[in-house]
């Protein structure tokens, strides 16, 4: 496998730093509570424009609510697998809200998991949540086995690695499992991402997928963005699936998933709990709406399922 075939991994890895920094800015302005983020992003965050803060709020909160629902509906008898998790703090936020799945597995490149392992070790708050009296935390440089929480280094493009690492984390293929991918599949070439989705549908008895990604890339906005990303060495190899909401759904159904539903962020914004949305809108005044509308029309969340029970997991 030639590295050149996939563009530079460094560019993709750097997207985690960017996302974490943006989340840190939004959190510092009060968009949502995340006392764990400073442990994985110790620096003072750079200020971002209000549209970006709102975008991250919509993304983070939507995913939180969907996963929360999944855990509630399965009464905790489930697994969460976060693909390309980066420095996400979802496990800890869920735990402090009283939601614990049987297993929460995060997968990412070793460069990312190494740093995260390091941050977790240094933070009492992060360590506490993954500890248990009857469980000894096992870790090496790039991997961490905590109580219910596993952080594994892997290349998502190498299916055998993914399988091996999941099994090392004691994955139970028969348990309802929710997969999360936030701008991950798009950096993989379509063959590899389809392969992964196909394998999940076959291997897992009852799977649910939350995919946050770009959409409607066929317009001027898409062109500009694609060229911007290329100049940062982030080839959007999986851009084809981001053409329309339909293509985002099709990519699942074509790989053996029973169904999928894609909604752009404009639609999701309308579905988020009103009281909280009102609160967020008061945090920073937007001087105009056009940019927000443009941004929100070019992102979407697609939920997909192999088990029709999960059609009820919506906002």
């Amino acid at each position: 496998m030639m590295a050149a075939e996939y563009g530079s991994d460094d560019g993709v890895i750097a997207t985690n730093d960017d996302a974490t920094s943006c989340k840190a800015c939004a959190v510092s302005l009060g968009y949502w509570k995340d006392p764990y983020l400073p442990h994985v992003y110790p620096a003072a965050p750079d200020r971002r424009p209000p549209e970006i803060n709102r975008g991250f709020y919509a993304r983070t909160h939507s995913i939180f609510l969907l996963i929360q629902k999944f855990i509630q509906v399965t009464k905790g008898d489930c697994q969460i697998v976060n693909l390309g998790a980066g420095f996400d703090t979802l496990f800890w936020r869920l735990k402090s809200a009283g939601h614990t799945p049987v297993r929460f597995i995060e997968l990412d490149f070793s460069e990312v998991t190494a740093k995260k392992t390091h941050y977790i070790q240094r933070s009492k708050a992060l360590l506490q949540a993954i500890s248990d009296d009857d469980y000894d935390i096992k870790l090496n440089r790039n991997n961490l086995h905590g109580f219910r929480y596993k952080l594994m280094s892997t290349d998502l493009r190498v299916l055998s690695e993914v399988e091996a690492k999941l099994e090392e984390s004691e994955i139970d293929y028969s348990l309802p499992t929710a997969f999360i991918a936030e701008c991950v599949l798009v950096y993989m070439c379509p063959t590899k991402s389809s392969q992964l989705l196909n394998w999940i549908a076959k291997k897992f008895k009852s799977a649910f997928f939350i995919n946050y990604e770009m959409v409607n890339l066929g317009d001027r906005f898409g062109e500009v963005m694609l060229s911007n990303l290329r100049s940062r060495h982030c080839d959007l190899q999986g851009a084809a699936a981001c053409a329309t909401l339909q293509s985002q759904e099709d990519r699942f159904v074509q790989e053996g998933w029973a169904g999928a539903e894609a909604t752009d962020m404009m639609g999701l914004w309308e579905r988020l709990p009103r009281a909280d949305v009102s609160r967020v809108m008061r945090l920073e005044m937007l001087d105009e709406n056009e940019l927000l509308t443009q941004l929100f029309s070019h992102y979407c969340i697609t939920t997909a399922w192999t088990d029709t029970r999960w059609t009820e997991i919506t906002l």
């Binding site: 997207t15 985690n16 960017d18 996302a19 920094s21 943006c22 750079d46 200020r47 971002r48 424009p49 209000p50 970006i52 975008g55 991250f56 993304r59 402090s96 809200a97 009283g98 701008c183 798009v186 770009m214 317009d219 001027r220 906005f221 062109e223 500009v224 963005m225 911007n228 990303l229 100049s231 940062r232 982030c234 009281a275 909280d276 609160r279 008061r282 920073e284 005044m285 937007l286 001087d287 105009e288 709406n289 056009e290 940019l291 443009q294 941004l295 992102y299």
Partner: protein, 482 residues
């Protein structure tokens, strides 16, 4: 009100205990449900309202939290927790003065409560800060940053190879050198930067709020809209339309900075030309020439990173003195935002407006910077939450009352860079193409001839710009994708 029976009181207590349990488990939804059940059984117990208020606070339903806390206090003026809860609700609603009163009450009744004292002190700090900000926003007697700049103490290093003011003045050579230096992404020496700002401030303080511009019959005149820190597109405007000069006058209609990554380069270029050709180069204030906008949309960050926050404060003072409006040949009125919530506003009213301040939340100054035209007749509340929307009939009445032909304004991004509305009475011109590297729009400027004052539109696409790190807005955009 029927007195509550003992049975009902007991039932209420059972509900309350259940609610408390849910609260402990952080299941606030359920806690509220059961506190409400308790209240249904016994509506006279302040503790139920106090507790439910707490649950609402945790759920961030601050309006409800406030209601419940107030009810609890009404029932029992000595219920300390009630004041605590209400203060929290007020804090979250941004009503710091009200919160302070309640914290004060708590501290008086519980002088040894450390947490209460802490919250009181914090709240007091916020209130004091707010009062201070308010004072300096309106008060023009306060000591100005301009007075504290000591240019003599700034020395030009030997290795500075950039443009230099000649005898402290802007010259044509300086401007040409400056623009080349900026294209090469270099920084003007702070001594010259400060000098320009001090001179520009001195100039603008002598200008009226509404500036009358005379354009000779045979002279061309160009009006540009929002630039928003897009320096390379500004250079393209000068390439397409010629550099500013006495025979090529320009009016830039506000929003020179923010969002784009080259706001510093834009503003110093514009201020430089203003100083060089004071009677042939005009600048009008936009809503982004203000502190709040600069904090949120990038200019403050850019000034701090390229120079210092002291310079940021000086910019604030300068922006406060920018004129709000230009009247061309007594026929065409140009402002950044738009028209007014009242039909009675005259040009004299605008002239009399006190502008040396941050834009207020309503009134003539606010509307000049924030309003938007709308297609339908009459007025409507602004989509932006500030200013007003005004229809073609409003525009016509204003023009008739003030003997004008039409208005030119900016403030809204347009696909083609400009838009003619209200039957030609209201023209929007927006000069930042591919706004924020996102919108894909064209930019435009308007050419006028002094005698006819008929608008001719020139549109153009965005030009390339260096991928500056951070490419502020565009970078953030990419982050949403990461």
């Amino acid at each position: 009100m029927a007195k509550c029976s003992e049975d009902k009181k007991e039932e209420a207590e059972v509900h309350k205990l259940k609610a408390n349990e849910f609260f402990q488990k952080q299941n606030y939804d359920k806690a509220i449900e059961f506190y409400s059940k308790a209240i249904e059984c016994n509506s006279e117990e302040p503790i139920y309202y106090g507790n439910r208020s707490f649950a609402y606070l945790r759920m961030e339903c601050f309006g409800y939290a406030l209601e419940d806390a107030t009810k609890a206090i009404e029932m029992d003026k000595s219920y300390v927790k009630g004041y605590y809860r209400r203060a929290s609700a007020y804090m979250s609603l941004g009503k710091y003065k009200m919160a302070l009163k309640d914290y004060e009450t708590v501290v008086k009744v519980r002088p040894s409560d450390k947490d209460a004292k802490l919250k009181f002190t914090e709240c007091q700090k916020i209130v004091q800060q707010m009062l201070f900000q308010k004072a300096i926003a309106v008060d023009d007697d306060k000591k100005s940053v301009a007075d504290s700049i000591n240019l003599d103490a700034m020395t030009i290093e030997d290795n500075y190879d950039g443009p230099a003011l000649e005898d402290g003045k802007v010259t044509e050579k300086f401007m040409l050198d400056l623009m080349e230096y900026y294209k090469a992404q270099k920084k003007l020496h702070k001594k010259y930067a400060y000098k320009i700002l001090l001179d520009i401030k001195a100039y603008f303080t002598k200008q009226p709020t509404l500036v009358d511009v005379h354009i000779p019959d045979d002279s061309k005149f160009t009006v540009c809209g929002d630039i928003h820190g897009q320096f390379y597109d500004l250079m393209n405007i000068f390439k397409l339309n010629g550099l500013p000069s006495p025979s090529n006058p320009y009016l830039f209609n506000g929003d020179f900075v923010d969002r784009g990554s080259f706001s510093i380069e834009c503003i110093f270029t514009l201020f430089g030309y203003k100083l060089l050709y004071p009677n042939h180069f005009w600048m009008s204030r936009g809503n982004h020439e203000s502190v709040t906008m600069n904090q949120m949309y990038g200019f403050e960050g850019e000034v701090k990173s390229k120079y210092s926050s002291q310079m940021g404060d000086l910019f604030t003072e300068v922006y406060n003195w920018l004129p709000l409006c230009h009247c061309l040949n007594k026929r065409v009125l140009v402002m950044h935002g738009g028209l007014f919530s009242s039909d009675t506003v005259t040009l004299d009213d605008i002239r009399k407006t006190e502008r040396n301040r941050q834009p207020p939340e309503e009134g003539i100054m606010c509307e000049l910077l924030w309003s938007d035209p709308m297609p339908g007749p009459g007025r409507a509340p602004s989509k932006r939450g500030v200013g007003t929307q005004f229809g073609p009939d409003v525009t016509k009445r204003f023009l008739d009352n003030n003997n004008l032909d039409y208005i030119i304004r900016s403030h809204e991004v347009k696909d083609d860079g400009y838009e003619v509305s209200h039957g030609g009475l209201c023209i929007t011109v927006f000069s930042a193409p591919n706004y924020c590297d996102t919108m894909g729009n064209k930019g435009a400027f308007i050419n006028l001839q002094g005698d006819t004052m008929e608008p001719k539109y020139v549109t153009y696409s965005a030009v390339e710009h260096p991928p500056v790190k951070p490419m502020a807005y565009a970078n953030s955009l990419l982050r949403l994708f990461s």
